[in-house]
Amino acid sequence: MFKWLDPYAKPQVLFATLLWWQRWLMPLSIVVLLLGTVWGLGFTPADYQQGDSYRIIHVHVPAAIWSMGVYAWMAIAAFIALVWQVKTAQWAIGAIAPIGAVYTLIALFTGAAWGKPMWGTWWVWDARLTSELILLFLFLGVMALQNAFADRQTGDKAAAVLAVVGVVNLPIIHYSVEWWNTLHQGATITKFAKPSMDPSMLWPLLICILGFALLFGALTCLRLRTAILQHEAHRPWVRQYVQEQQHATV
């Protein structure tokens, strides 16, 4: 497996691969997201109890699922960076973290916007809400740590350590907050967590989840490519690539 993966540690090879993937993923994610959101927001039947406001789940649930998923991918990149000292994996942490932070923000915002008409409040100190907020802090912490050093490489490595430590924290946070809440009151949101949905509502939701995953992939390709160009700016192949791009646009 390592023989097969090894070439991708080389920035130039990875750059070309990412370019190829990005060309596919970017349009595909836009098409899938458009399909899912238009179907979900415009053409599914309204809920018998919640009316039209339930439709926000087509944005909220994918963002929430992938905010966790993005953290997992970032932690995998961090682990690879620490164990095998792969430079490109270090750069991937910085490329992924802001995407995860934005997904988390989307999940929090759409959740609050749904909570206001449904629960009558923007925010409850509920298990899921709190753990999502802490996830946002973890993403922001990784980003802050990465940018805090005069030496960029030290920042990358420190962020990798923090990302790996943070993943140990994720399940603890999740379950401990549930424990903490059951002491006060019964869970208010978990009965919505596994809704038995009608297929007419479920399909657009699944398409949206796929769309958010594809968008994450496409954005990661884009951001990691940018990071590679920035880190390797002094290399001949980057100069050649930039010149080619300039000729192409002129």
Partner: protein, 224 residues
Amino acid sequence: MSHANVFRATFQRELKLLARQKADWVNPLLFFIIILTLFPLGVGAKPNLLREIAPGVIWIAALLSVLLGAERQFRQDYRDGVLEQLVSARSPLVGYSLAKIAAGWLGSGLPLILVSPLLALFLGLSTEALTAVVLTLLLGTPLLSLLSALGAALTLSADKGGILLALIILPLYIPLLIFASAAVEQASFGLNYQAQLAVLAAMLCVALALVPLAVQKALKLNVG
């Protein structure tokens, strides 16, 4: 040199430093007491309200005062080149960091535990809740010292270490805070809180095994 040797030498040196630089452990303790004094002034001196919020208040004050001393934990050794010597001599940093953490706990954790019964009385906690506060602090403050040492090691050569340290370490404190205040709350209702204590002990064991390795890694990358 083995881990045990390095541990012993560093620990003895740290104890000497604690004995000579009394401000290192007196200041966090004063900070802890002052925060606890501010709460009755801030929220009003209503005995029922104070009794209700006391567990959370004591724990948050403990988090902050441990964090206050954390930044300096490795800074002196980093500035005067001790760490560089240790890294270039390839001496085992796990023993060194464990000794640092243990001494850090003696300086910033233990005084809080000793003074906490007095403060719990000020805030009107019952005897059961007071016992729970002391027990959770006993299990929890070593964990605070471990995590804050990791934060200090990670931000060692960062430009704005202090505030960044708080930013990255406070989210990691949250599970601890949740279980500790749950235990104290159970105790104040006269309920059994052994489950929460067991979870705290488990978290401490895991952290004790893994955090020194992460600290070692963080120290190396900041020095090398």
